[in-house]
């Protein structure tokens, strides 16, 4: 606790406490539609946080994070459907699969000197390759999808992950706050400083004696494992899985836009970015179904991304933080 709070400005701690309190109370007042939108926000926030560890902290650009979502989702769901294994145990198996995939991809790439843009494209290649494999993998339903028995919504069953959106909301809120705390801790520990050194200048980091290869693999693996947790939850929330949506490159891109818009490498950026983009996207969906023009929603979404990257290229959170005077540390 002492370590958690050291160096956090008073105003920031207060603002965070207010935010957490508001989020905890939200399902008591909000309708089911708002809760379901907030579930989407939290999925996006948590996935953004997971991705941010790899790119924001350690500077390794992944454009294929849907791979780890898909592995977490498919492994836990298939074990549940075929063997009746409880979701939380299946989730562990999914995390192990993602850890294996992530460390393997990272080890292969970094061993062979694949970095930067090339590494990003390699992550796309692995994700797309896996998507097509799953499309032809009959045991998990192939391209016609894998379905979980629909939940009985009368009572929340936390053990079997069958229940209302509000239950998933609280699980995801807990995860997001854990990820926030984890990020905060990591940035204060040796490993966080090593990652940032690698991000800023890999050769200099190596010259200082940092085992660049090992720490880069660690960042990718941690990010993959965290992503797989969200994948498993997503499987039990949606109750259906299709390779073309679960492993889609569009999902990978969605995962990375929120943290970039919010502020790459910042702790709260992914959460803010998820709120902004999900609310924008929901509003546009409602608006465009009222107007009825195909594609208008995506156009405005694209235009907003363009506006943000032109006006606030470092992301919205650093700007908002300065506005709210949250970073005036009492050092």
């Amino acid at each position: 606790m002492q370590e958690m709070l050291s160096g956090v400005p008073r105003r920031a701690a207060l603002a965070l406490a207010l935010f957490v309190a508001a989020m905890l109370a939200m399902p008591l007042f909000a309708g089911s539609y708002v809760v379901s939108v907030l579930v989407v926000v939290l999925f996006s926030a948590y996935l953004g946080q997971a991705w941010n560890i790899m790119m924001g902290f350690a500077g390794q650009l992944s454009l294929g994070h849907a791979l780890y979502v898909g592995l977490g989702a498919y492994v836990s769901a298939a074990l549940f459907v075929h063997f009746g294994l409880p979701p939380w145990i299946g989730m562990l198996a999914g995390m192990a699969a993602a850890a294996l995939a992530g460390s393997l991809i990272a080890a292969l790439s970094f061993r062979f000197g694949v970095t930067g843009v090339y590494f990003a494209l390699l992550t796309i290649a692995f994700a797309e390759f896996t998507r097509i494999v799953f499309n032809h993998f009959g045991w998990v339903g192939g391209s016609s999808g894998l379905f979980l028995p629909v939940a009985n919504l009368a009572r929340d069953d936390l053990v079997n992950l069958r229940g209302s959106p509000a239950m998933f909301y609280y699980i995801l809120l807990a995860l997001t706050l854990c990820a926030l705390a984890l990020g905060h801790l990591l940035l204060r520990r040796r490993v966080g400083f090593y990652w940032q050194a690698i991000r800023e200048d890999q050769e200099a980091a190596q010259a200082l004696g940092i085992d660049v290869f090992r720490y880069k693999i660690a960042a990718v693996t941690l990010s993959a494992v965290m992503t797989a947790i969200a994948g498993a939850l997503m499987a039990f929330y949606d109750n259906n899985l299709y390779p073309d949506t679960t492993f889609a490159i569009g999902r990978s891109i969605d995962i990375i836009t929120a943290p970039i818009i919010g502020g790459l490498g910042t702790l709260f950026g992914p959460i803010l970015g998820a709120f902004v983009l999900t609310v924008l996207s929901e509003t546009m969906t409602n608006l465009s179904s009222a107007i009825g023009i195909n594609g208008l929603k995506q156009w405005i979404y694209g235009a907003t991304l363009l506006a943000i990257v032109m006006l606030q290229p470092a992301g919205l959170w650093p700007w908002l933080r300065a506005r709210l005077r949250l970073d005036e540390a009492k050092r």
Binding site: S109, V117, A125, F129, I132, I260, I293, G302, P313
Partner: protein, 287 residues
């Protein structure tokens, strides 16, 4: 046996068009170091332009190739001048987001104007083919390949012999040096982006004879162009062509021998193998 030869020939011919498409991406990256994430989207815009001109004026797609290429040159030039130039020295993720936003806006614009349905262009020689020693060759495929080869040859001549072409190569080799000797690097970058757009536009026209167009195929072609240039070597002109041919043949063979829906899996497998064995690509230079 002859069936296989026919399929390989068809793959090679399609591969020529893929090569021209990927060449655009490769030229842009080789000179400006920007990865054009809106590449397939630019191509789809060109394809719809062909469709409209064909329906309104009844022009043959081949005749329109230079027109569309010129149109996309102007578009690419303007995009680089107005938008992308400010991001030349920015971090990769900002460039990515910028071009992603452009890609989303292009795709949704085509969706708004033309709707989600797949469309194609009708020519009266669509089903003609030649038989050469038992090997069947589609007429449209042959014409498309010849067009693509012509485009590549023109580009090669441009970079080899014209003053602007040489200046662009100078920028690619040494940006600071080019600035020191008084070259207008920003203008040359815009010209390069225009050339890249023209390549992919021309490839789009030729490809429209072989595939249907709908707004969402854009992302698939962006990915395909990535695969090809990485396999051949980002920034290498012959590499883009070789990559195009390889992917064309691999798609044709896997579509015939295994399953059409698995053909892109083989392309991704090819990409993974090349990246791990020879990260700079088959004909690329070590950075």
């Amino acid at each position: 046996m002859l069936t296989y030869v026919s399929i390989i020939v068809a793959g090679l011919l399609t591969g020529c068009v893929y090569g021209l498409m990927a060449l655009g991406l490769s030229v842009i990256f080789g000179v400006t170091r920007i990865v054009n994430f809106a590449h397939g989207e630019m191509m789809v815009v060109g394809m719809y332009a062909v469709l409209v001109l064909n329906q309104k004026l009844g022009l043959d797609p081949f005749v329109m190739t230079p027109v569309i290429a010129a149109g996309l040159f102007v578009g690419g030039y303007a995009l680089q001048r107005g938008l992308v130039n400010r991001y030349i020295a920015r971090p990769e993720h900002e460039q990515f987001l910028l071009l992603l936003a452009v890609a989303i806006m292009l795709t949704s614009s085509t969706l708004m104007v033309f709707g989600p349905d797949a469309r194609n262009v009708q020519v009266d020689y669509a089903y003609d083919s030649y038989e050469i020693g038992g090997v069947l060759v589609d007429k449209v495929r042959l014409l498309a390949a010849l067009g693509a080869v012509g485009g590549v040859a023109a580009l090669w001549a441009f970079f080899r012999w014209t003053r602007t072409g040489k200046s662009i190569r100078a920028c690619a080799d040494n940006q600071v040096g080019a600035q020191v000797v008084g070259l207008d690097v920003k203008r040359l970058y815009a010209v390069t982006f225009g050339i890249g757009a023209a390549c992919v536009g021309a490839a789009g026209v030729l490809l429209l004879l072989l595939v249907d167009v709908q707004p969402y195929i854009a992302a698939d072609f962006t990915l395909l162009a990535f695969i090809i240039v990485i396999v051949g070597g980002l920034g290498s002109m012959p590499g883009a062509l070789l990559g195009g041919l390889l992917v064309g043949v691999s798609e044709a063979l896997s579509g015939f021998m295994v399953l059409p829906s698995l053909k892109s899996m083989f392309s991704f497998a090819l990409l993974i193998v090349v990246l791990l064995v020879r990260p700079q690509g088959l004909l690329g230079r070590r950075a």
